[in-house]
């Protein structure tokens, strides 16, 4: 299997995985979405909430605020602390504000300044004159398989398309060039050329447009273009690395369990 990074900028990463089968590609995609632990608010204790938003609605919003996730924290199960949250497995974020004001994610004060909202300008709730809001939120590590708030980002892959042209049948009429919704075809020197086959979305509009049936769209069976868009909790490449760790971990545990049978 080979891996080639095409783009790595900001929270986005694009890479091509080749020499793999669809089952592996999907296992990787699922592992990235479901098995990579990140921090998210999991419990909120309200002391005062005079706002127009109910406690549980606000708590839900807080849970969805992406938090930067450093190394070193334990999973709740691994920690074994009696209270269910201690400095080794959780972070506490507090907020105390009085209106008139718009409460922003940046108003949260964290017990660990490495575990903070990815963006400080997410509006949470509006407080009018005299309205107070005071709460303590506990953030823990969790997995996407349990709740979408713990999904580290968006991960998707597609096959690498193949564009086959029967050059004897093609008369360079240009009908396909006009129909392509991604503009990846062009006529140059009286011949049909594909500008960028990887941008093809395999819609077959060109195949249908061709009066000579000269085009065939297919795909490579073992090449996948992955796109990772991180929420900012973890860098994209970390999501991929930890997903591979997670898959390995499952296999190692599986081997251990099979030997016990």
């Amino acid at each position: 299997m080979e891996l080639e990074i095409r783009k790595l900028v900001g929270d986005e990463m694009e890479f091509v995985l080749s020499g793999a089968n669809p089952a592996f590609a999907n296992a990787l995609r699922r592992a990235m979405l479901r098995e990579v632990p990140i921090m998210a608010i999991d419990e909120v204790e309200f002391l005062v909430n005079d706002s127009a938003m109910y406690d549980e609605i606000l708590a839900h919003q807080l849970a969805l605020v992406p938090l930067r996730t450093p190394d070193g924290y334990l999973l709740r199960d691994e920690c074994g602390c009696k209270e269910g949250s201690c400095p080794r497995c959780s972070v506490s974020l507090t907020l105390k504000r009085e209106g008139p004001a718009t409460v922003l994610s940046g108003d949260l004060k964290s017990s660990d300044n490495e575990v903070v909202p990815v963006s400080g300008s997410i509006p949470l709730v509006r407080l009018d004159e005299g309205q107070r809001l005071e709460f303590t939120a506990i953030a823990r590590l969790g997995f996407g398989r349990e709740h979408a708030k713990w999904q580290p980002g968006i991960v998707a892959y597609k096959y690498v398309p193949t564009f086959e042209l029967d050059e004897r049948a093609c008369d360079a009429c240009g009908a396909c060039v006009k129909r392509c919704p991604r503009n990846i075809l062009e006529l140059s020197d009286g011949k049909l050329k594909v500008v960028d086959v990887e941008k093809c979305i395999m819609c077959n509009a060109c195949v249908e447009a061709c009066p000579r049936e000269a085009i065939r769209i297919g795909h490579h069976e073992d090449k996948f273009i992955f796109r990772i868009e991180s929420t900012g909790a973890l860098p994209s490449e970390q999501i991929l690395l930890k997903a591979l760790d997670a898959l390995e971990g499952k296999c190692k545990e599986f081997i251990k369990q099979v030997k016990k049978l």
Partner: protein
Amino acid sequence: MELKLVNKDGRNLTVKIIGEDHTLCNILRKTLHEDEHVITASYTIEHPLLEHPTFYVNVKKGKTPERALTDAAERIIESCDGLQKKLLRELKK
């Protein structure tokens, strides 16, 4: 992860993998098929809310079903490991 034995007789093995889903099972199934000793490998998830897929392996003479499973898991670990190394190299560029 916990394995619950459902059936075992010579070349067949049926086991419930508690706490797992397609993430492990599908790639395990596919990797098992690469083993020439494996005749059949399949799994079924009876209900998406109950996390216990039932995995079935059937082998030819020459390898136990358990061995086929651990071999397949080892191959997946190798693939993941190799990919991690390649990724780290790419990142250094």
